[in-house]
Structures are given as structure tokens and as C-alpha cells.
Symmetry: C2
Subunit: 109 residues, 2 copies
Amino acid sequence: MGVTRSDLFTDEQNKIAQVAKGLAHPARIAIIQYLIKVNACINGDLVNELGLAQATISQHLRELKELDIIQGTIEGTRISYCINQNTLKTIQKEFNTLFDTASKGDNCC
Amino acid sequence: MGVTRSDLFTDEQNKIAQVAKGLAHPARIAIIQYLIKVNACINGDLVNELGLAQATISQHLRELKELDIIQGTIEGTRISYCINQNTLKTIQKEFNTLFDTASKGDNCC
DNA sequence: TTTATTCATTGCAATATTACGATTAATATT
DNA sequence: AATATTAATCGTAATATTGCAATGAATAAA
């Protein structure tokens, strides 16, 4: 065990959970917020900004990149990272869909 | 290591990450969706619905309860669970705040 | 060419999460 | 009282995540 039984759930449920997992670390929230603020930056900037080791930042960036929340452009020895606004908009819609249906029901117990 | 350095981040960043972590499992998404659909249900209903063991469902319910996303009312030997709509609305606002600022900037790299 | 800069990757240790059987506690039912 | 139902909790195993030092690869600068 220790492994999520994703076979038991719908693609939609797995997808939302996966995105939520991508947002489930304050460093990754901080990276997203910083990228929104400065539009684009490199790994080294985030190391200074967040105070985590370079390898750790790199790991968080990879996770965000795998979810297509950010993208990177090679510039010599540097890689310029930025937000993928389309993905973020899609995620926002998915969360809102989940939340909106809740406010329609009667209250409860 | 293996422990999140939450001291490095703002309360807001930690809070959003914590909520995201609560949503970061398909079973918990499924529980939320099911509760929205049927308004209220008990642990046993979710065991049948999701196909996970009773102890596992109980664990997921506790996590959702700790985040105040759901609440439970004791009814004899049963506990009736339901969505806490206020919390869900607050969460929705927090996520939208995070995402909305992103669409204002220039695109990027 | 040598050195510096930048970042991904690897390997490891510490901790967290997921899942479930077994047990316990509490209330209903007979 | 004895039994059934329901769900929390405990203990344990398997796996995932977090963090960092060290290394490697790639380009830039001297």
C-alpha cells in the first residue's frame, strides 16, 4: 500500500487530484506567485527568493512543468521560466466547476 | 528532510498549499462530489460507492473534516457527513485570487 | 583552452501518505 | 443481557515526497 488506487476513480477525479497535488506545496505556490509578479525568472532567482537549495527548486520546477503550469525557455546556460496562462485558466475552470455545484444543494447535517 | 520547510513561506502560501493537499487525492474529490450529489451520507455509503476499505474512507473523512471542508453529525451509531459550503466558498475565492492575478500580466518566455 | 555560470539529475536520508486488517467504543436491536 | 451495526483508531507495510550535497552537462566568458 501507500499507493493511490487511481483505478477506482474517474479520469476527472484523478485529474483534479493530480493538479491539486501540484499545488500542494508552499514552495510551488510561492514560485507561481513570483512568476506572476515578475513575468519570468530563472532558477537562481528562485533560490534567492525562496531560500531553498538549487536542487530543490529545480525539482519543484519540474513538477510544475510536468503539469504544464509553467514552461521554460533555454537562454544560453539559463532557463527562463514563466506561467502557462492557458493551463492556469483551465485549472481555474475545473476547480470552479467542482465548487459551483456545491452551492446549489440544500445545506445539510 | 522529507519535511516541508513551511517556515520559509507566508501564511497565505502555506494555507493554500494545505488546502490543495486536502484536495490532492481522487478519493477525497470523489467524496466531495458524492456529498454534493446526495447532500449527506454516512461512511458506509462511501465504502460502497468508492470501493475502499472502511478504515481508509474514515481516514479521508478525517482529513476533509480537519480542513473544515465537511462536517459530521452523530445520529445513533452513524455519523452523517455533509459539505461545509462556507469553507468551500472561501477556498474557491482563495484559488480564484491566485489564478486571477496571473491573467493580468504579459505573456512570457 | 581554461574557468565560471547555470541548471538538471542522481543518490540518499528523513518524513509523510495511502491502504487495510484488527481492535475498540458506542449505540441499536433482539 | 446478548448481539448487531457503525465508525474511529491503532499498528503495520508499501510507497511517495521533500530536501540537499554531489555530480554532470551545457553554454558563456576569460
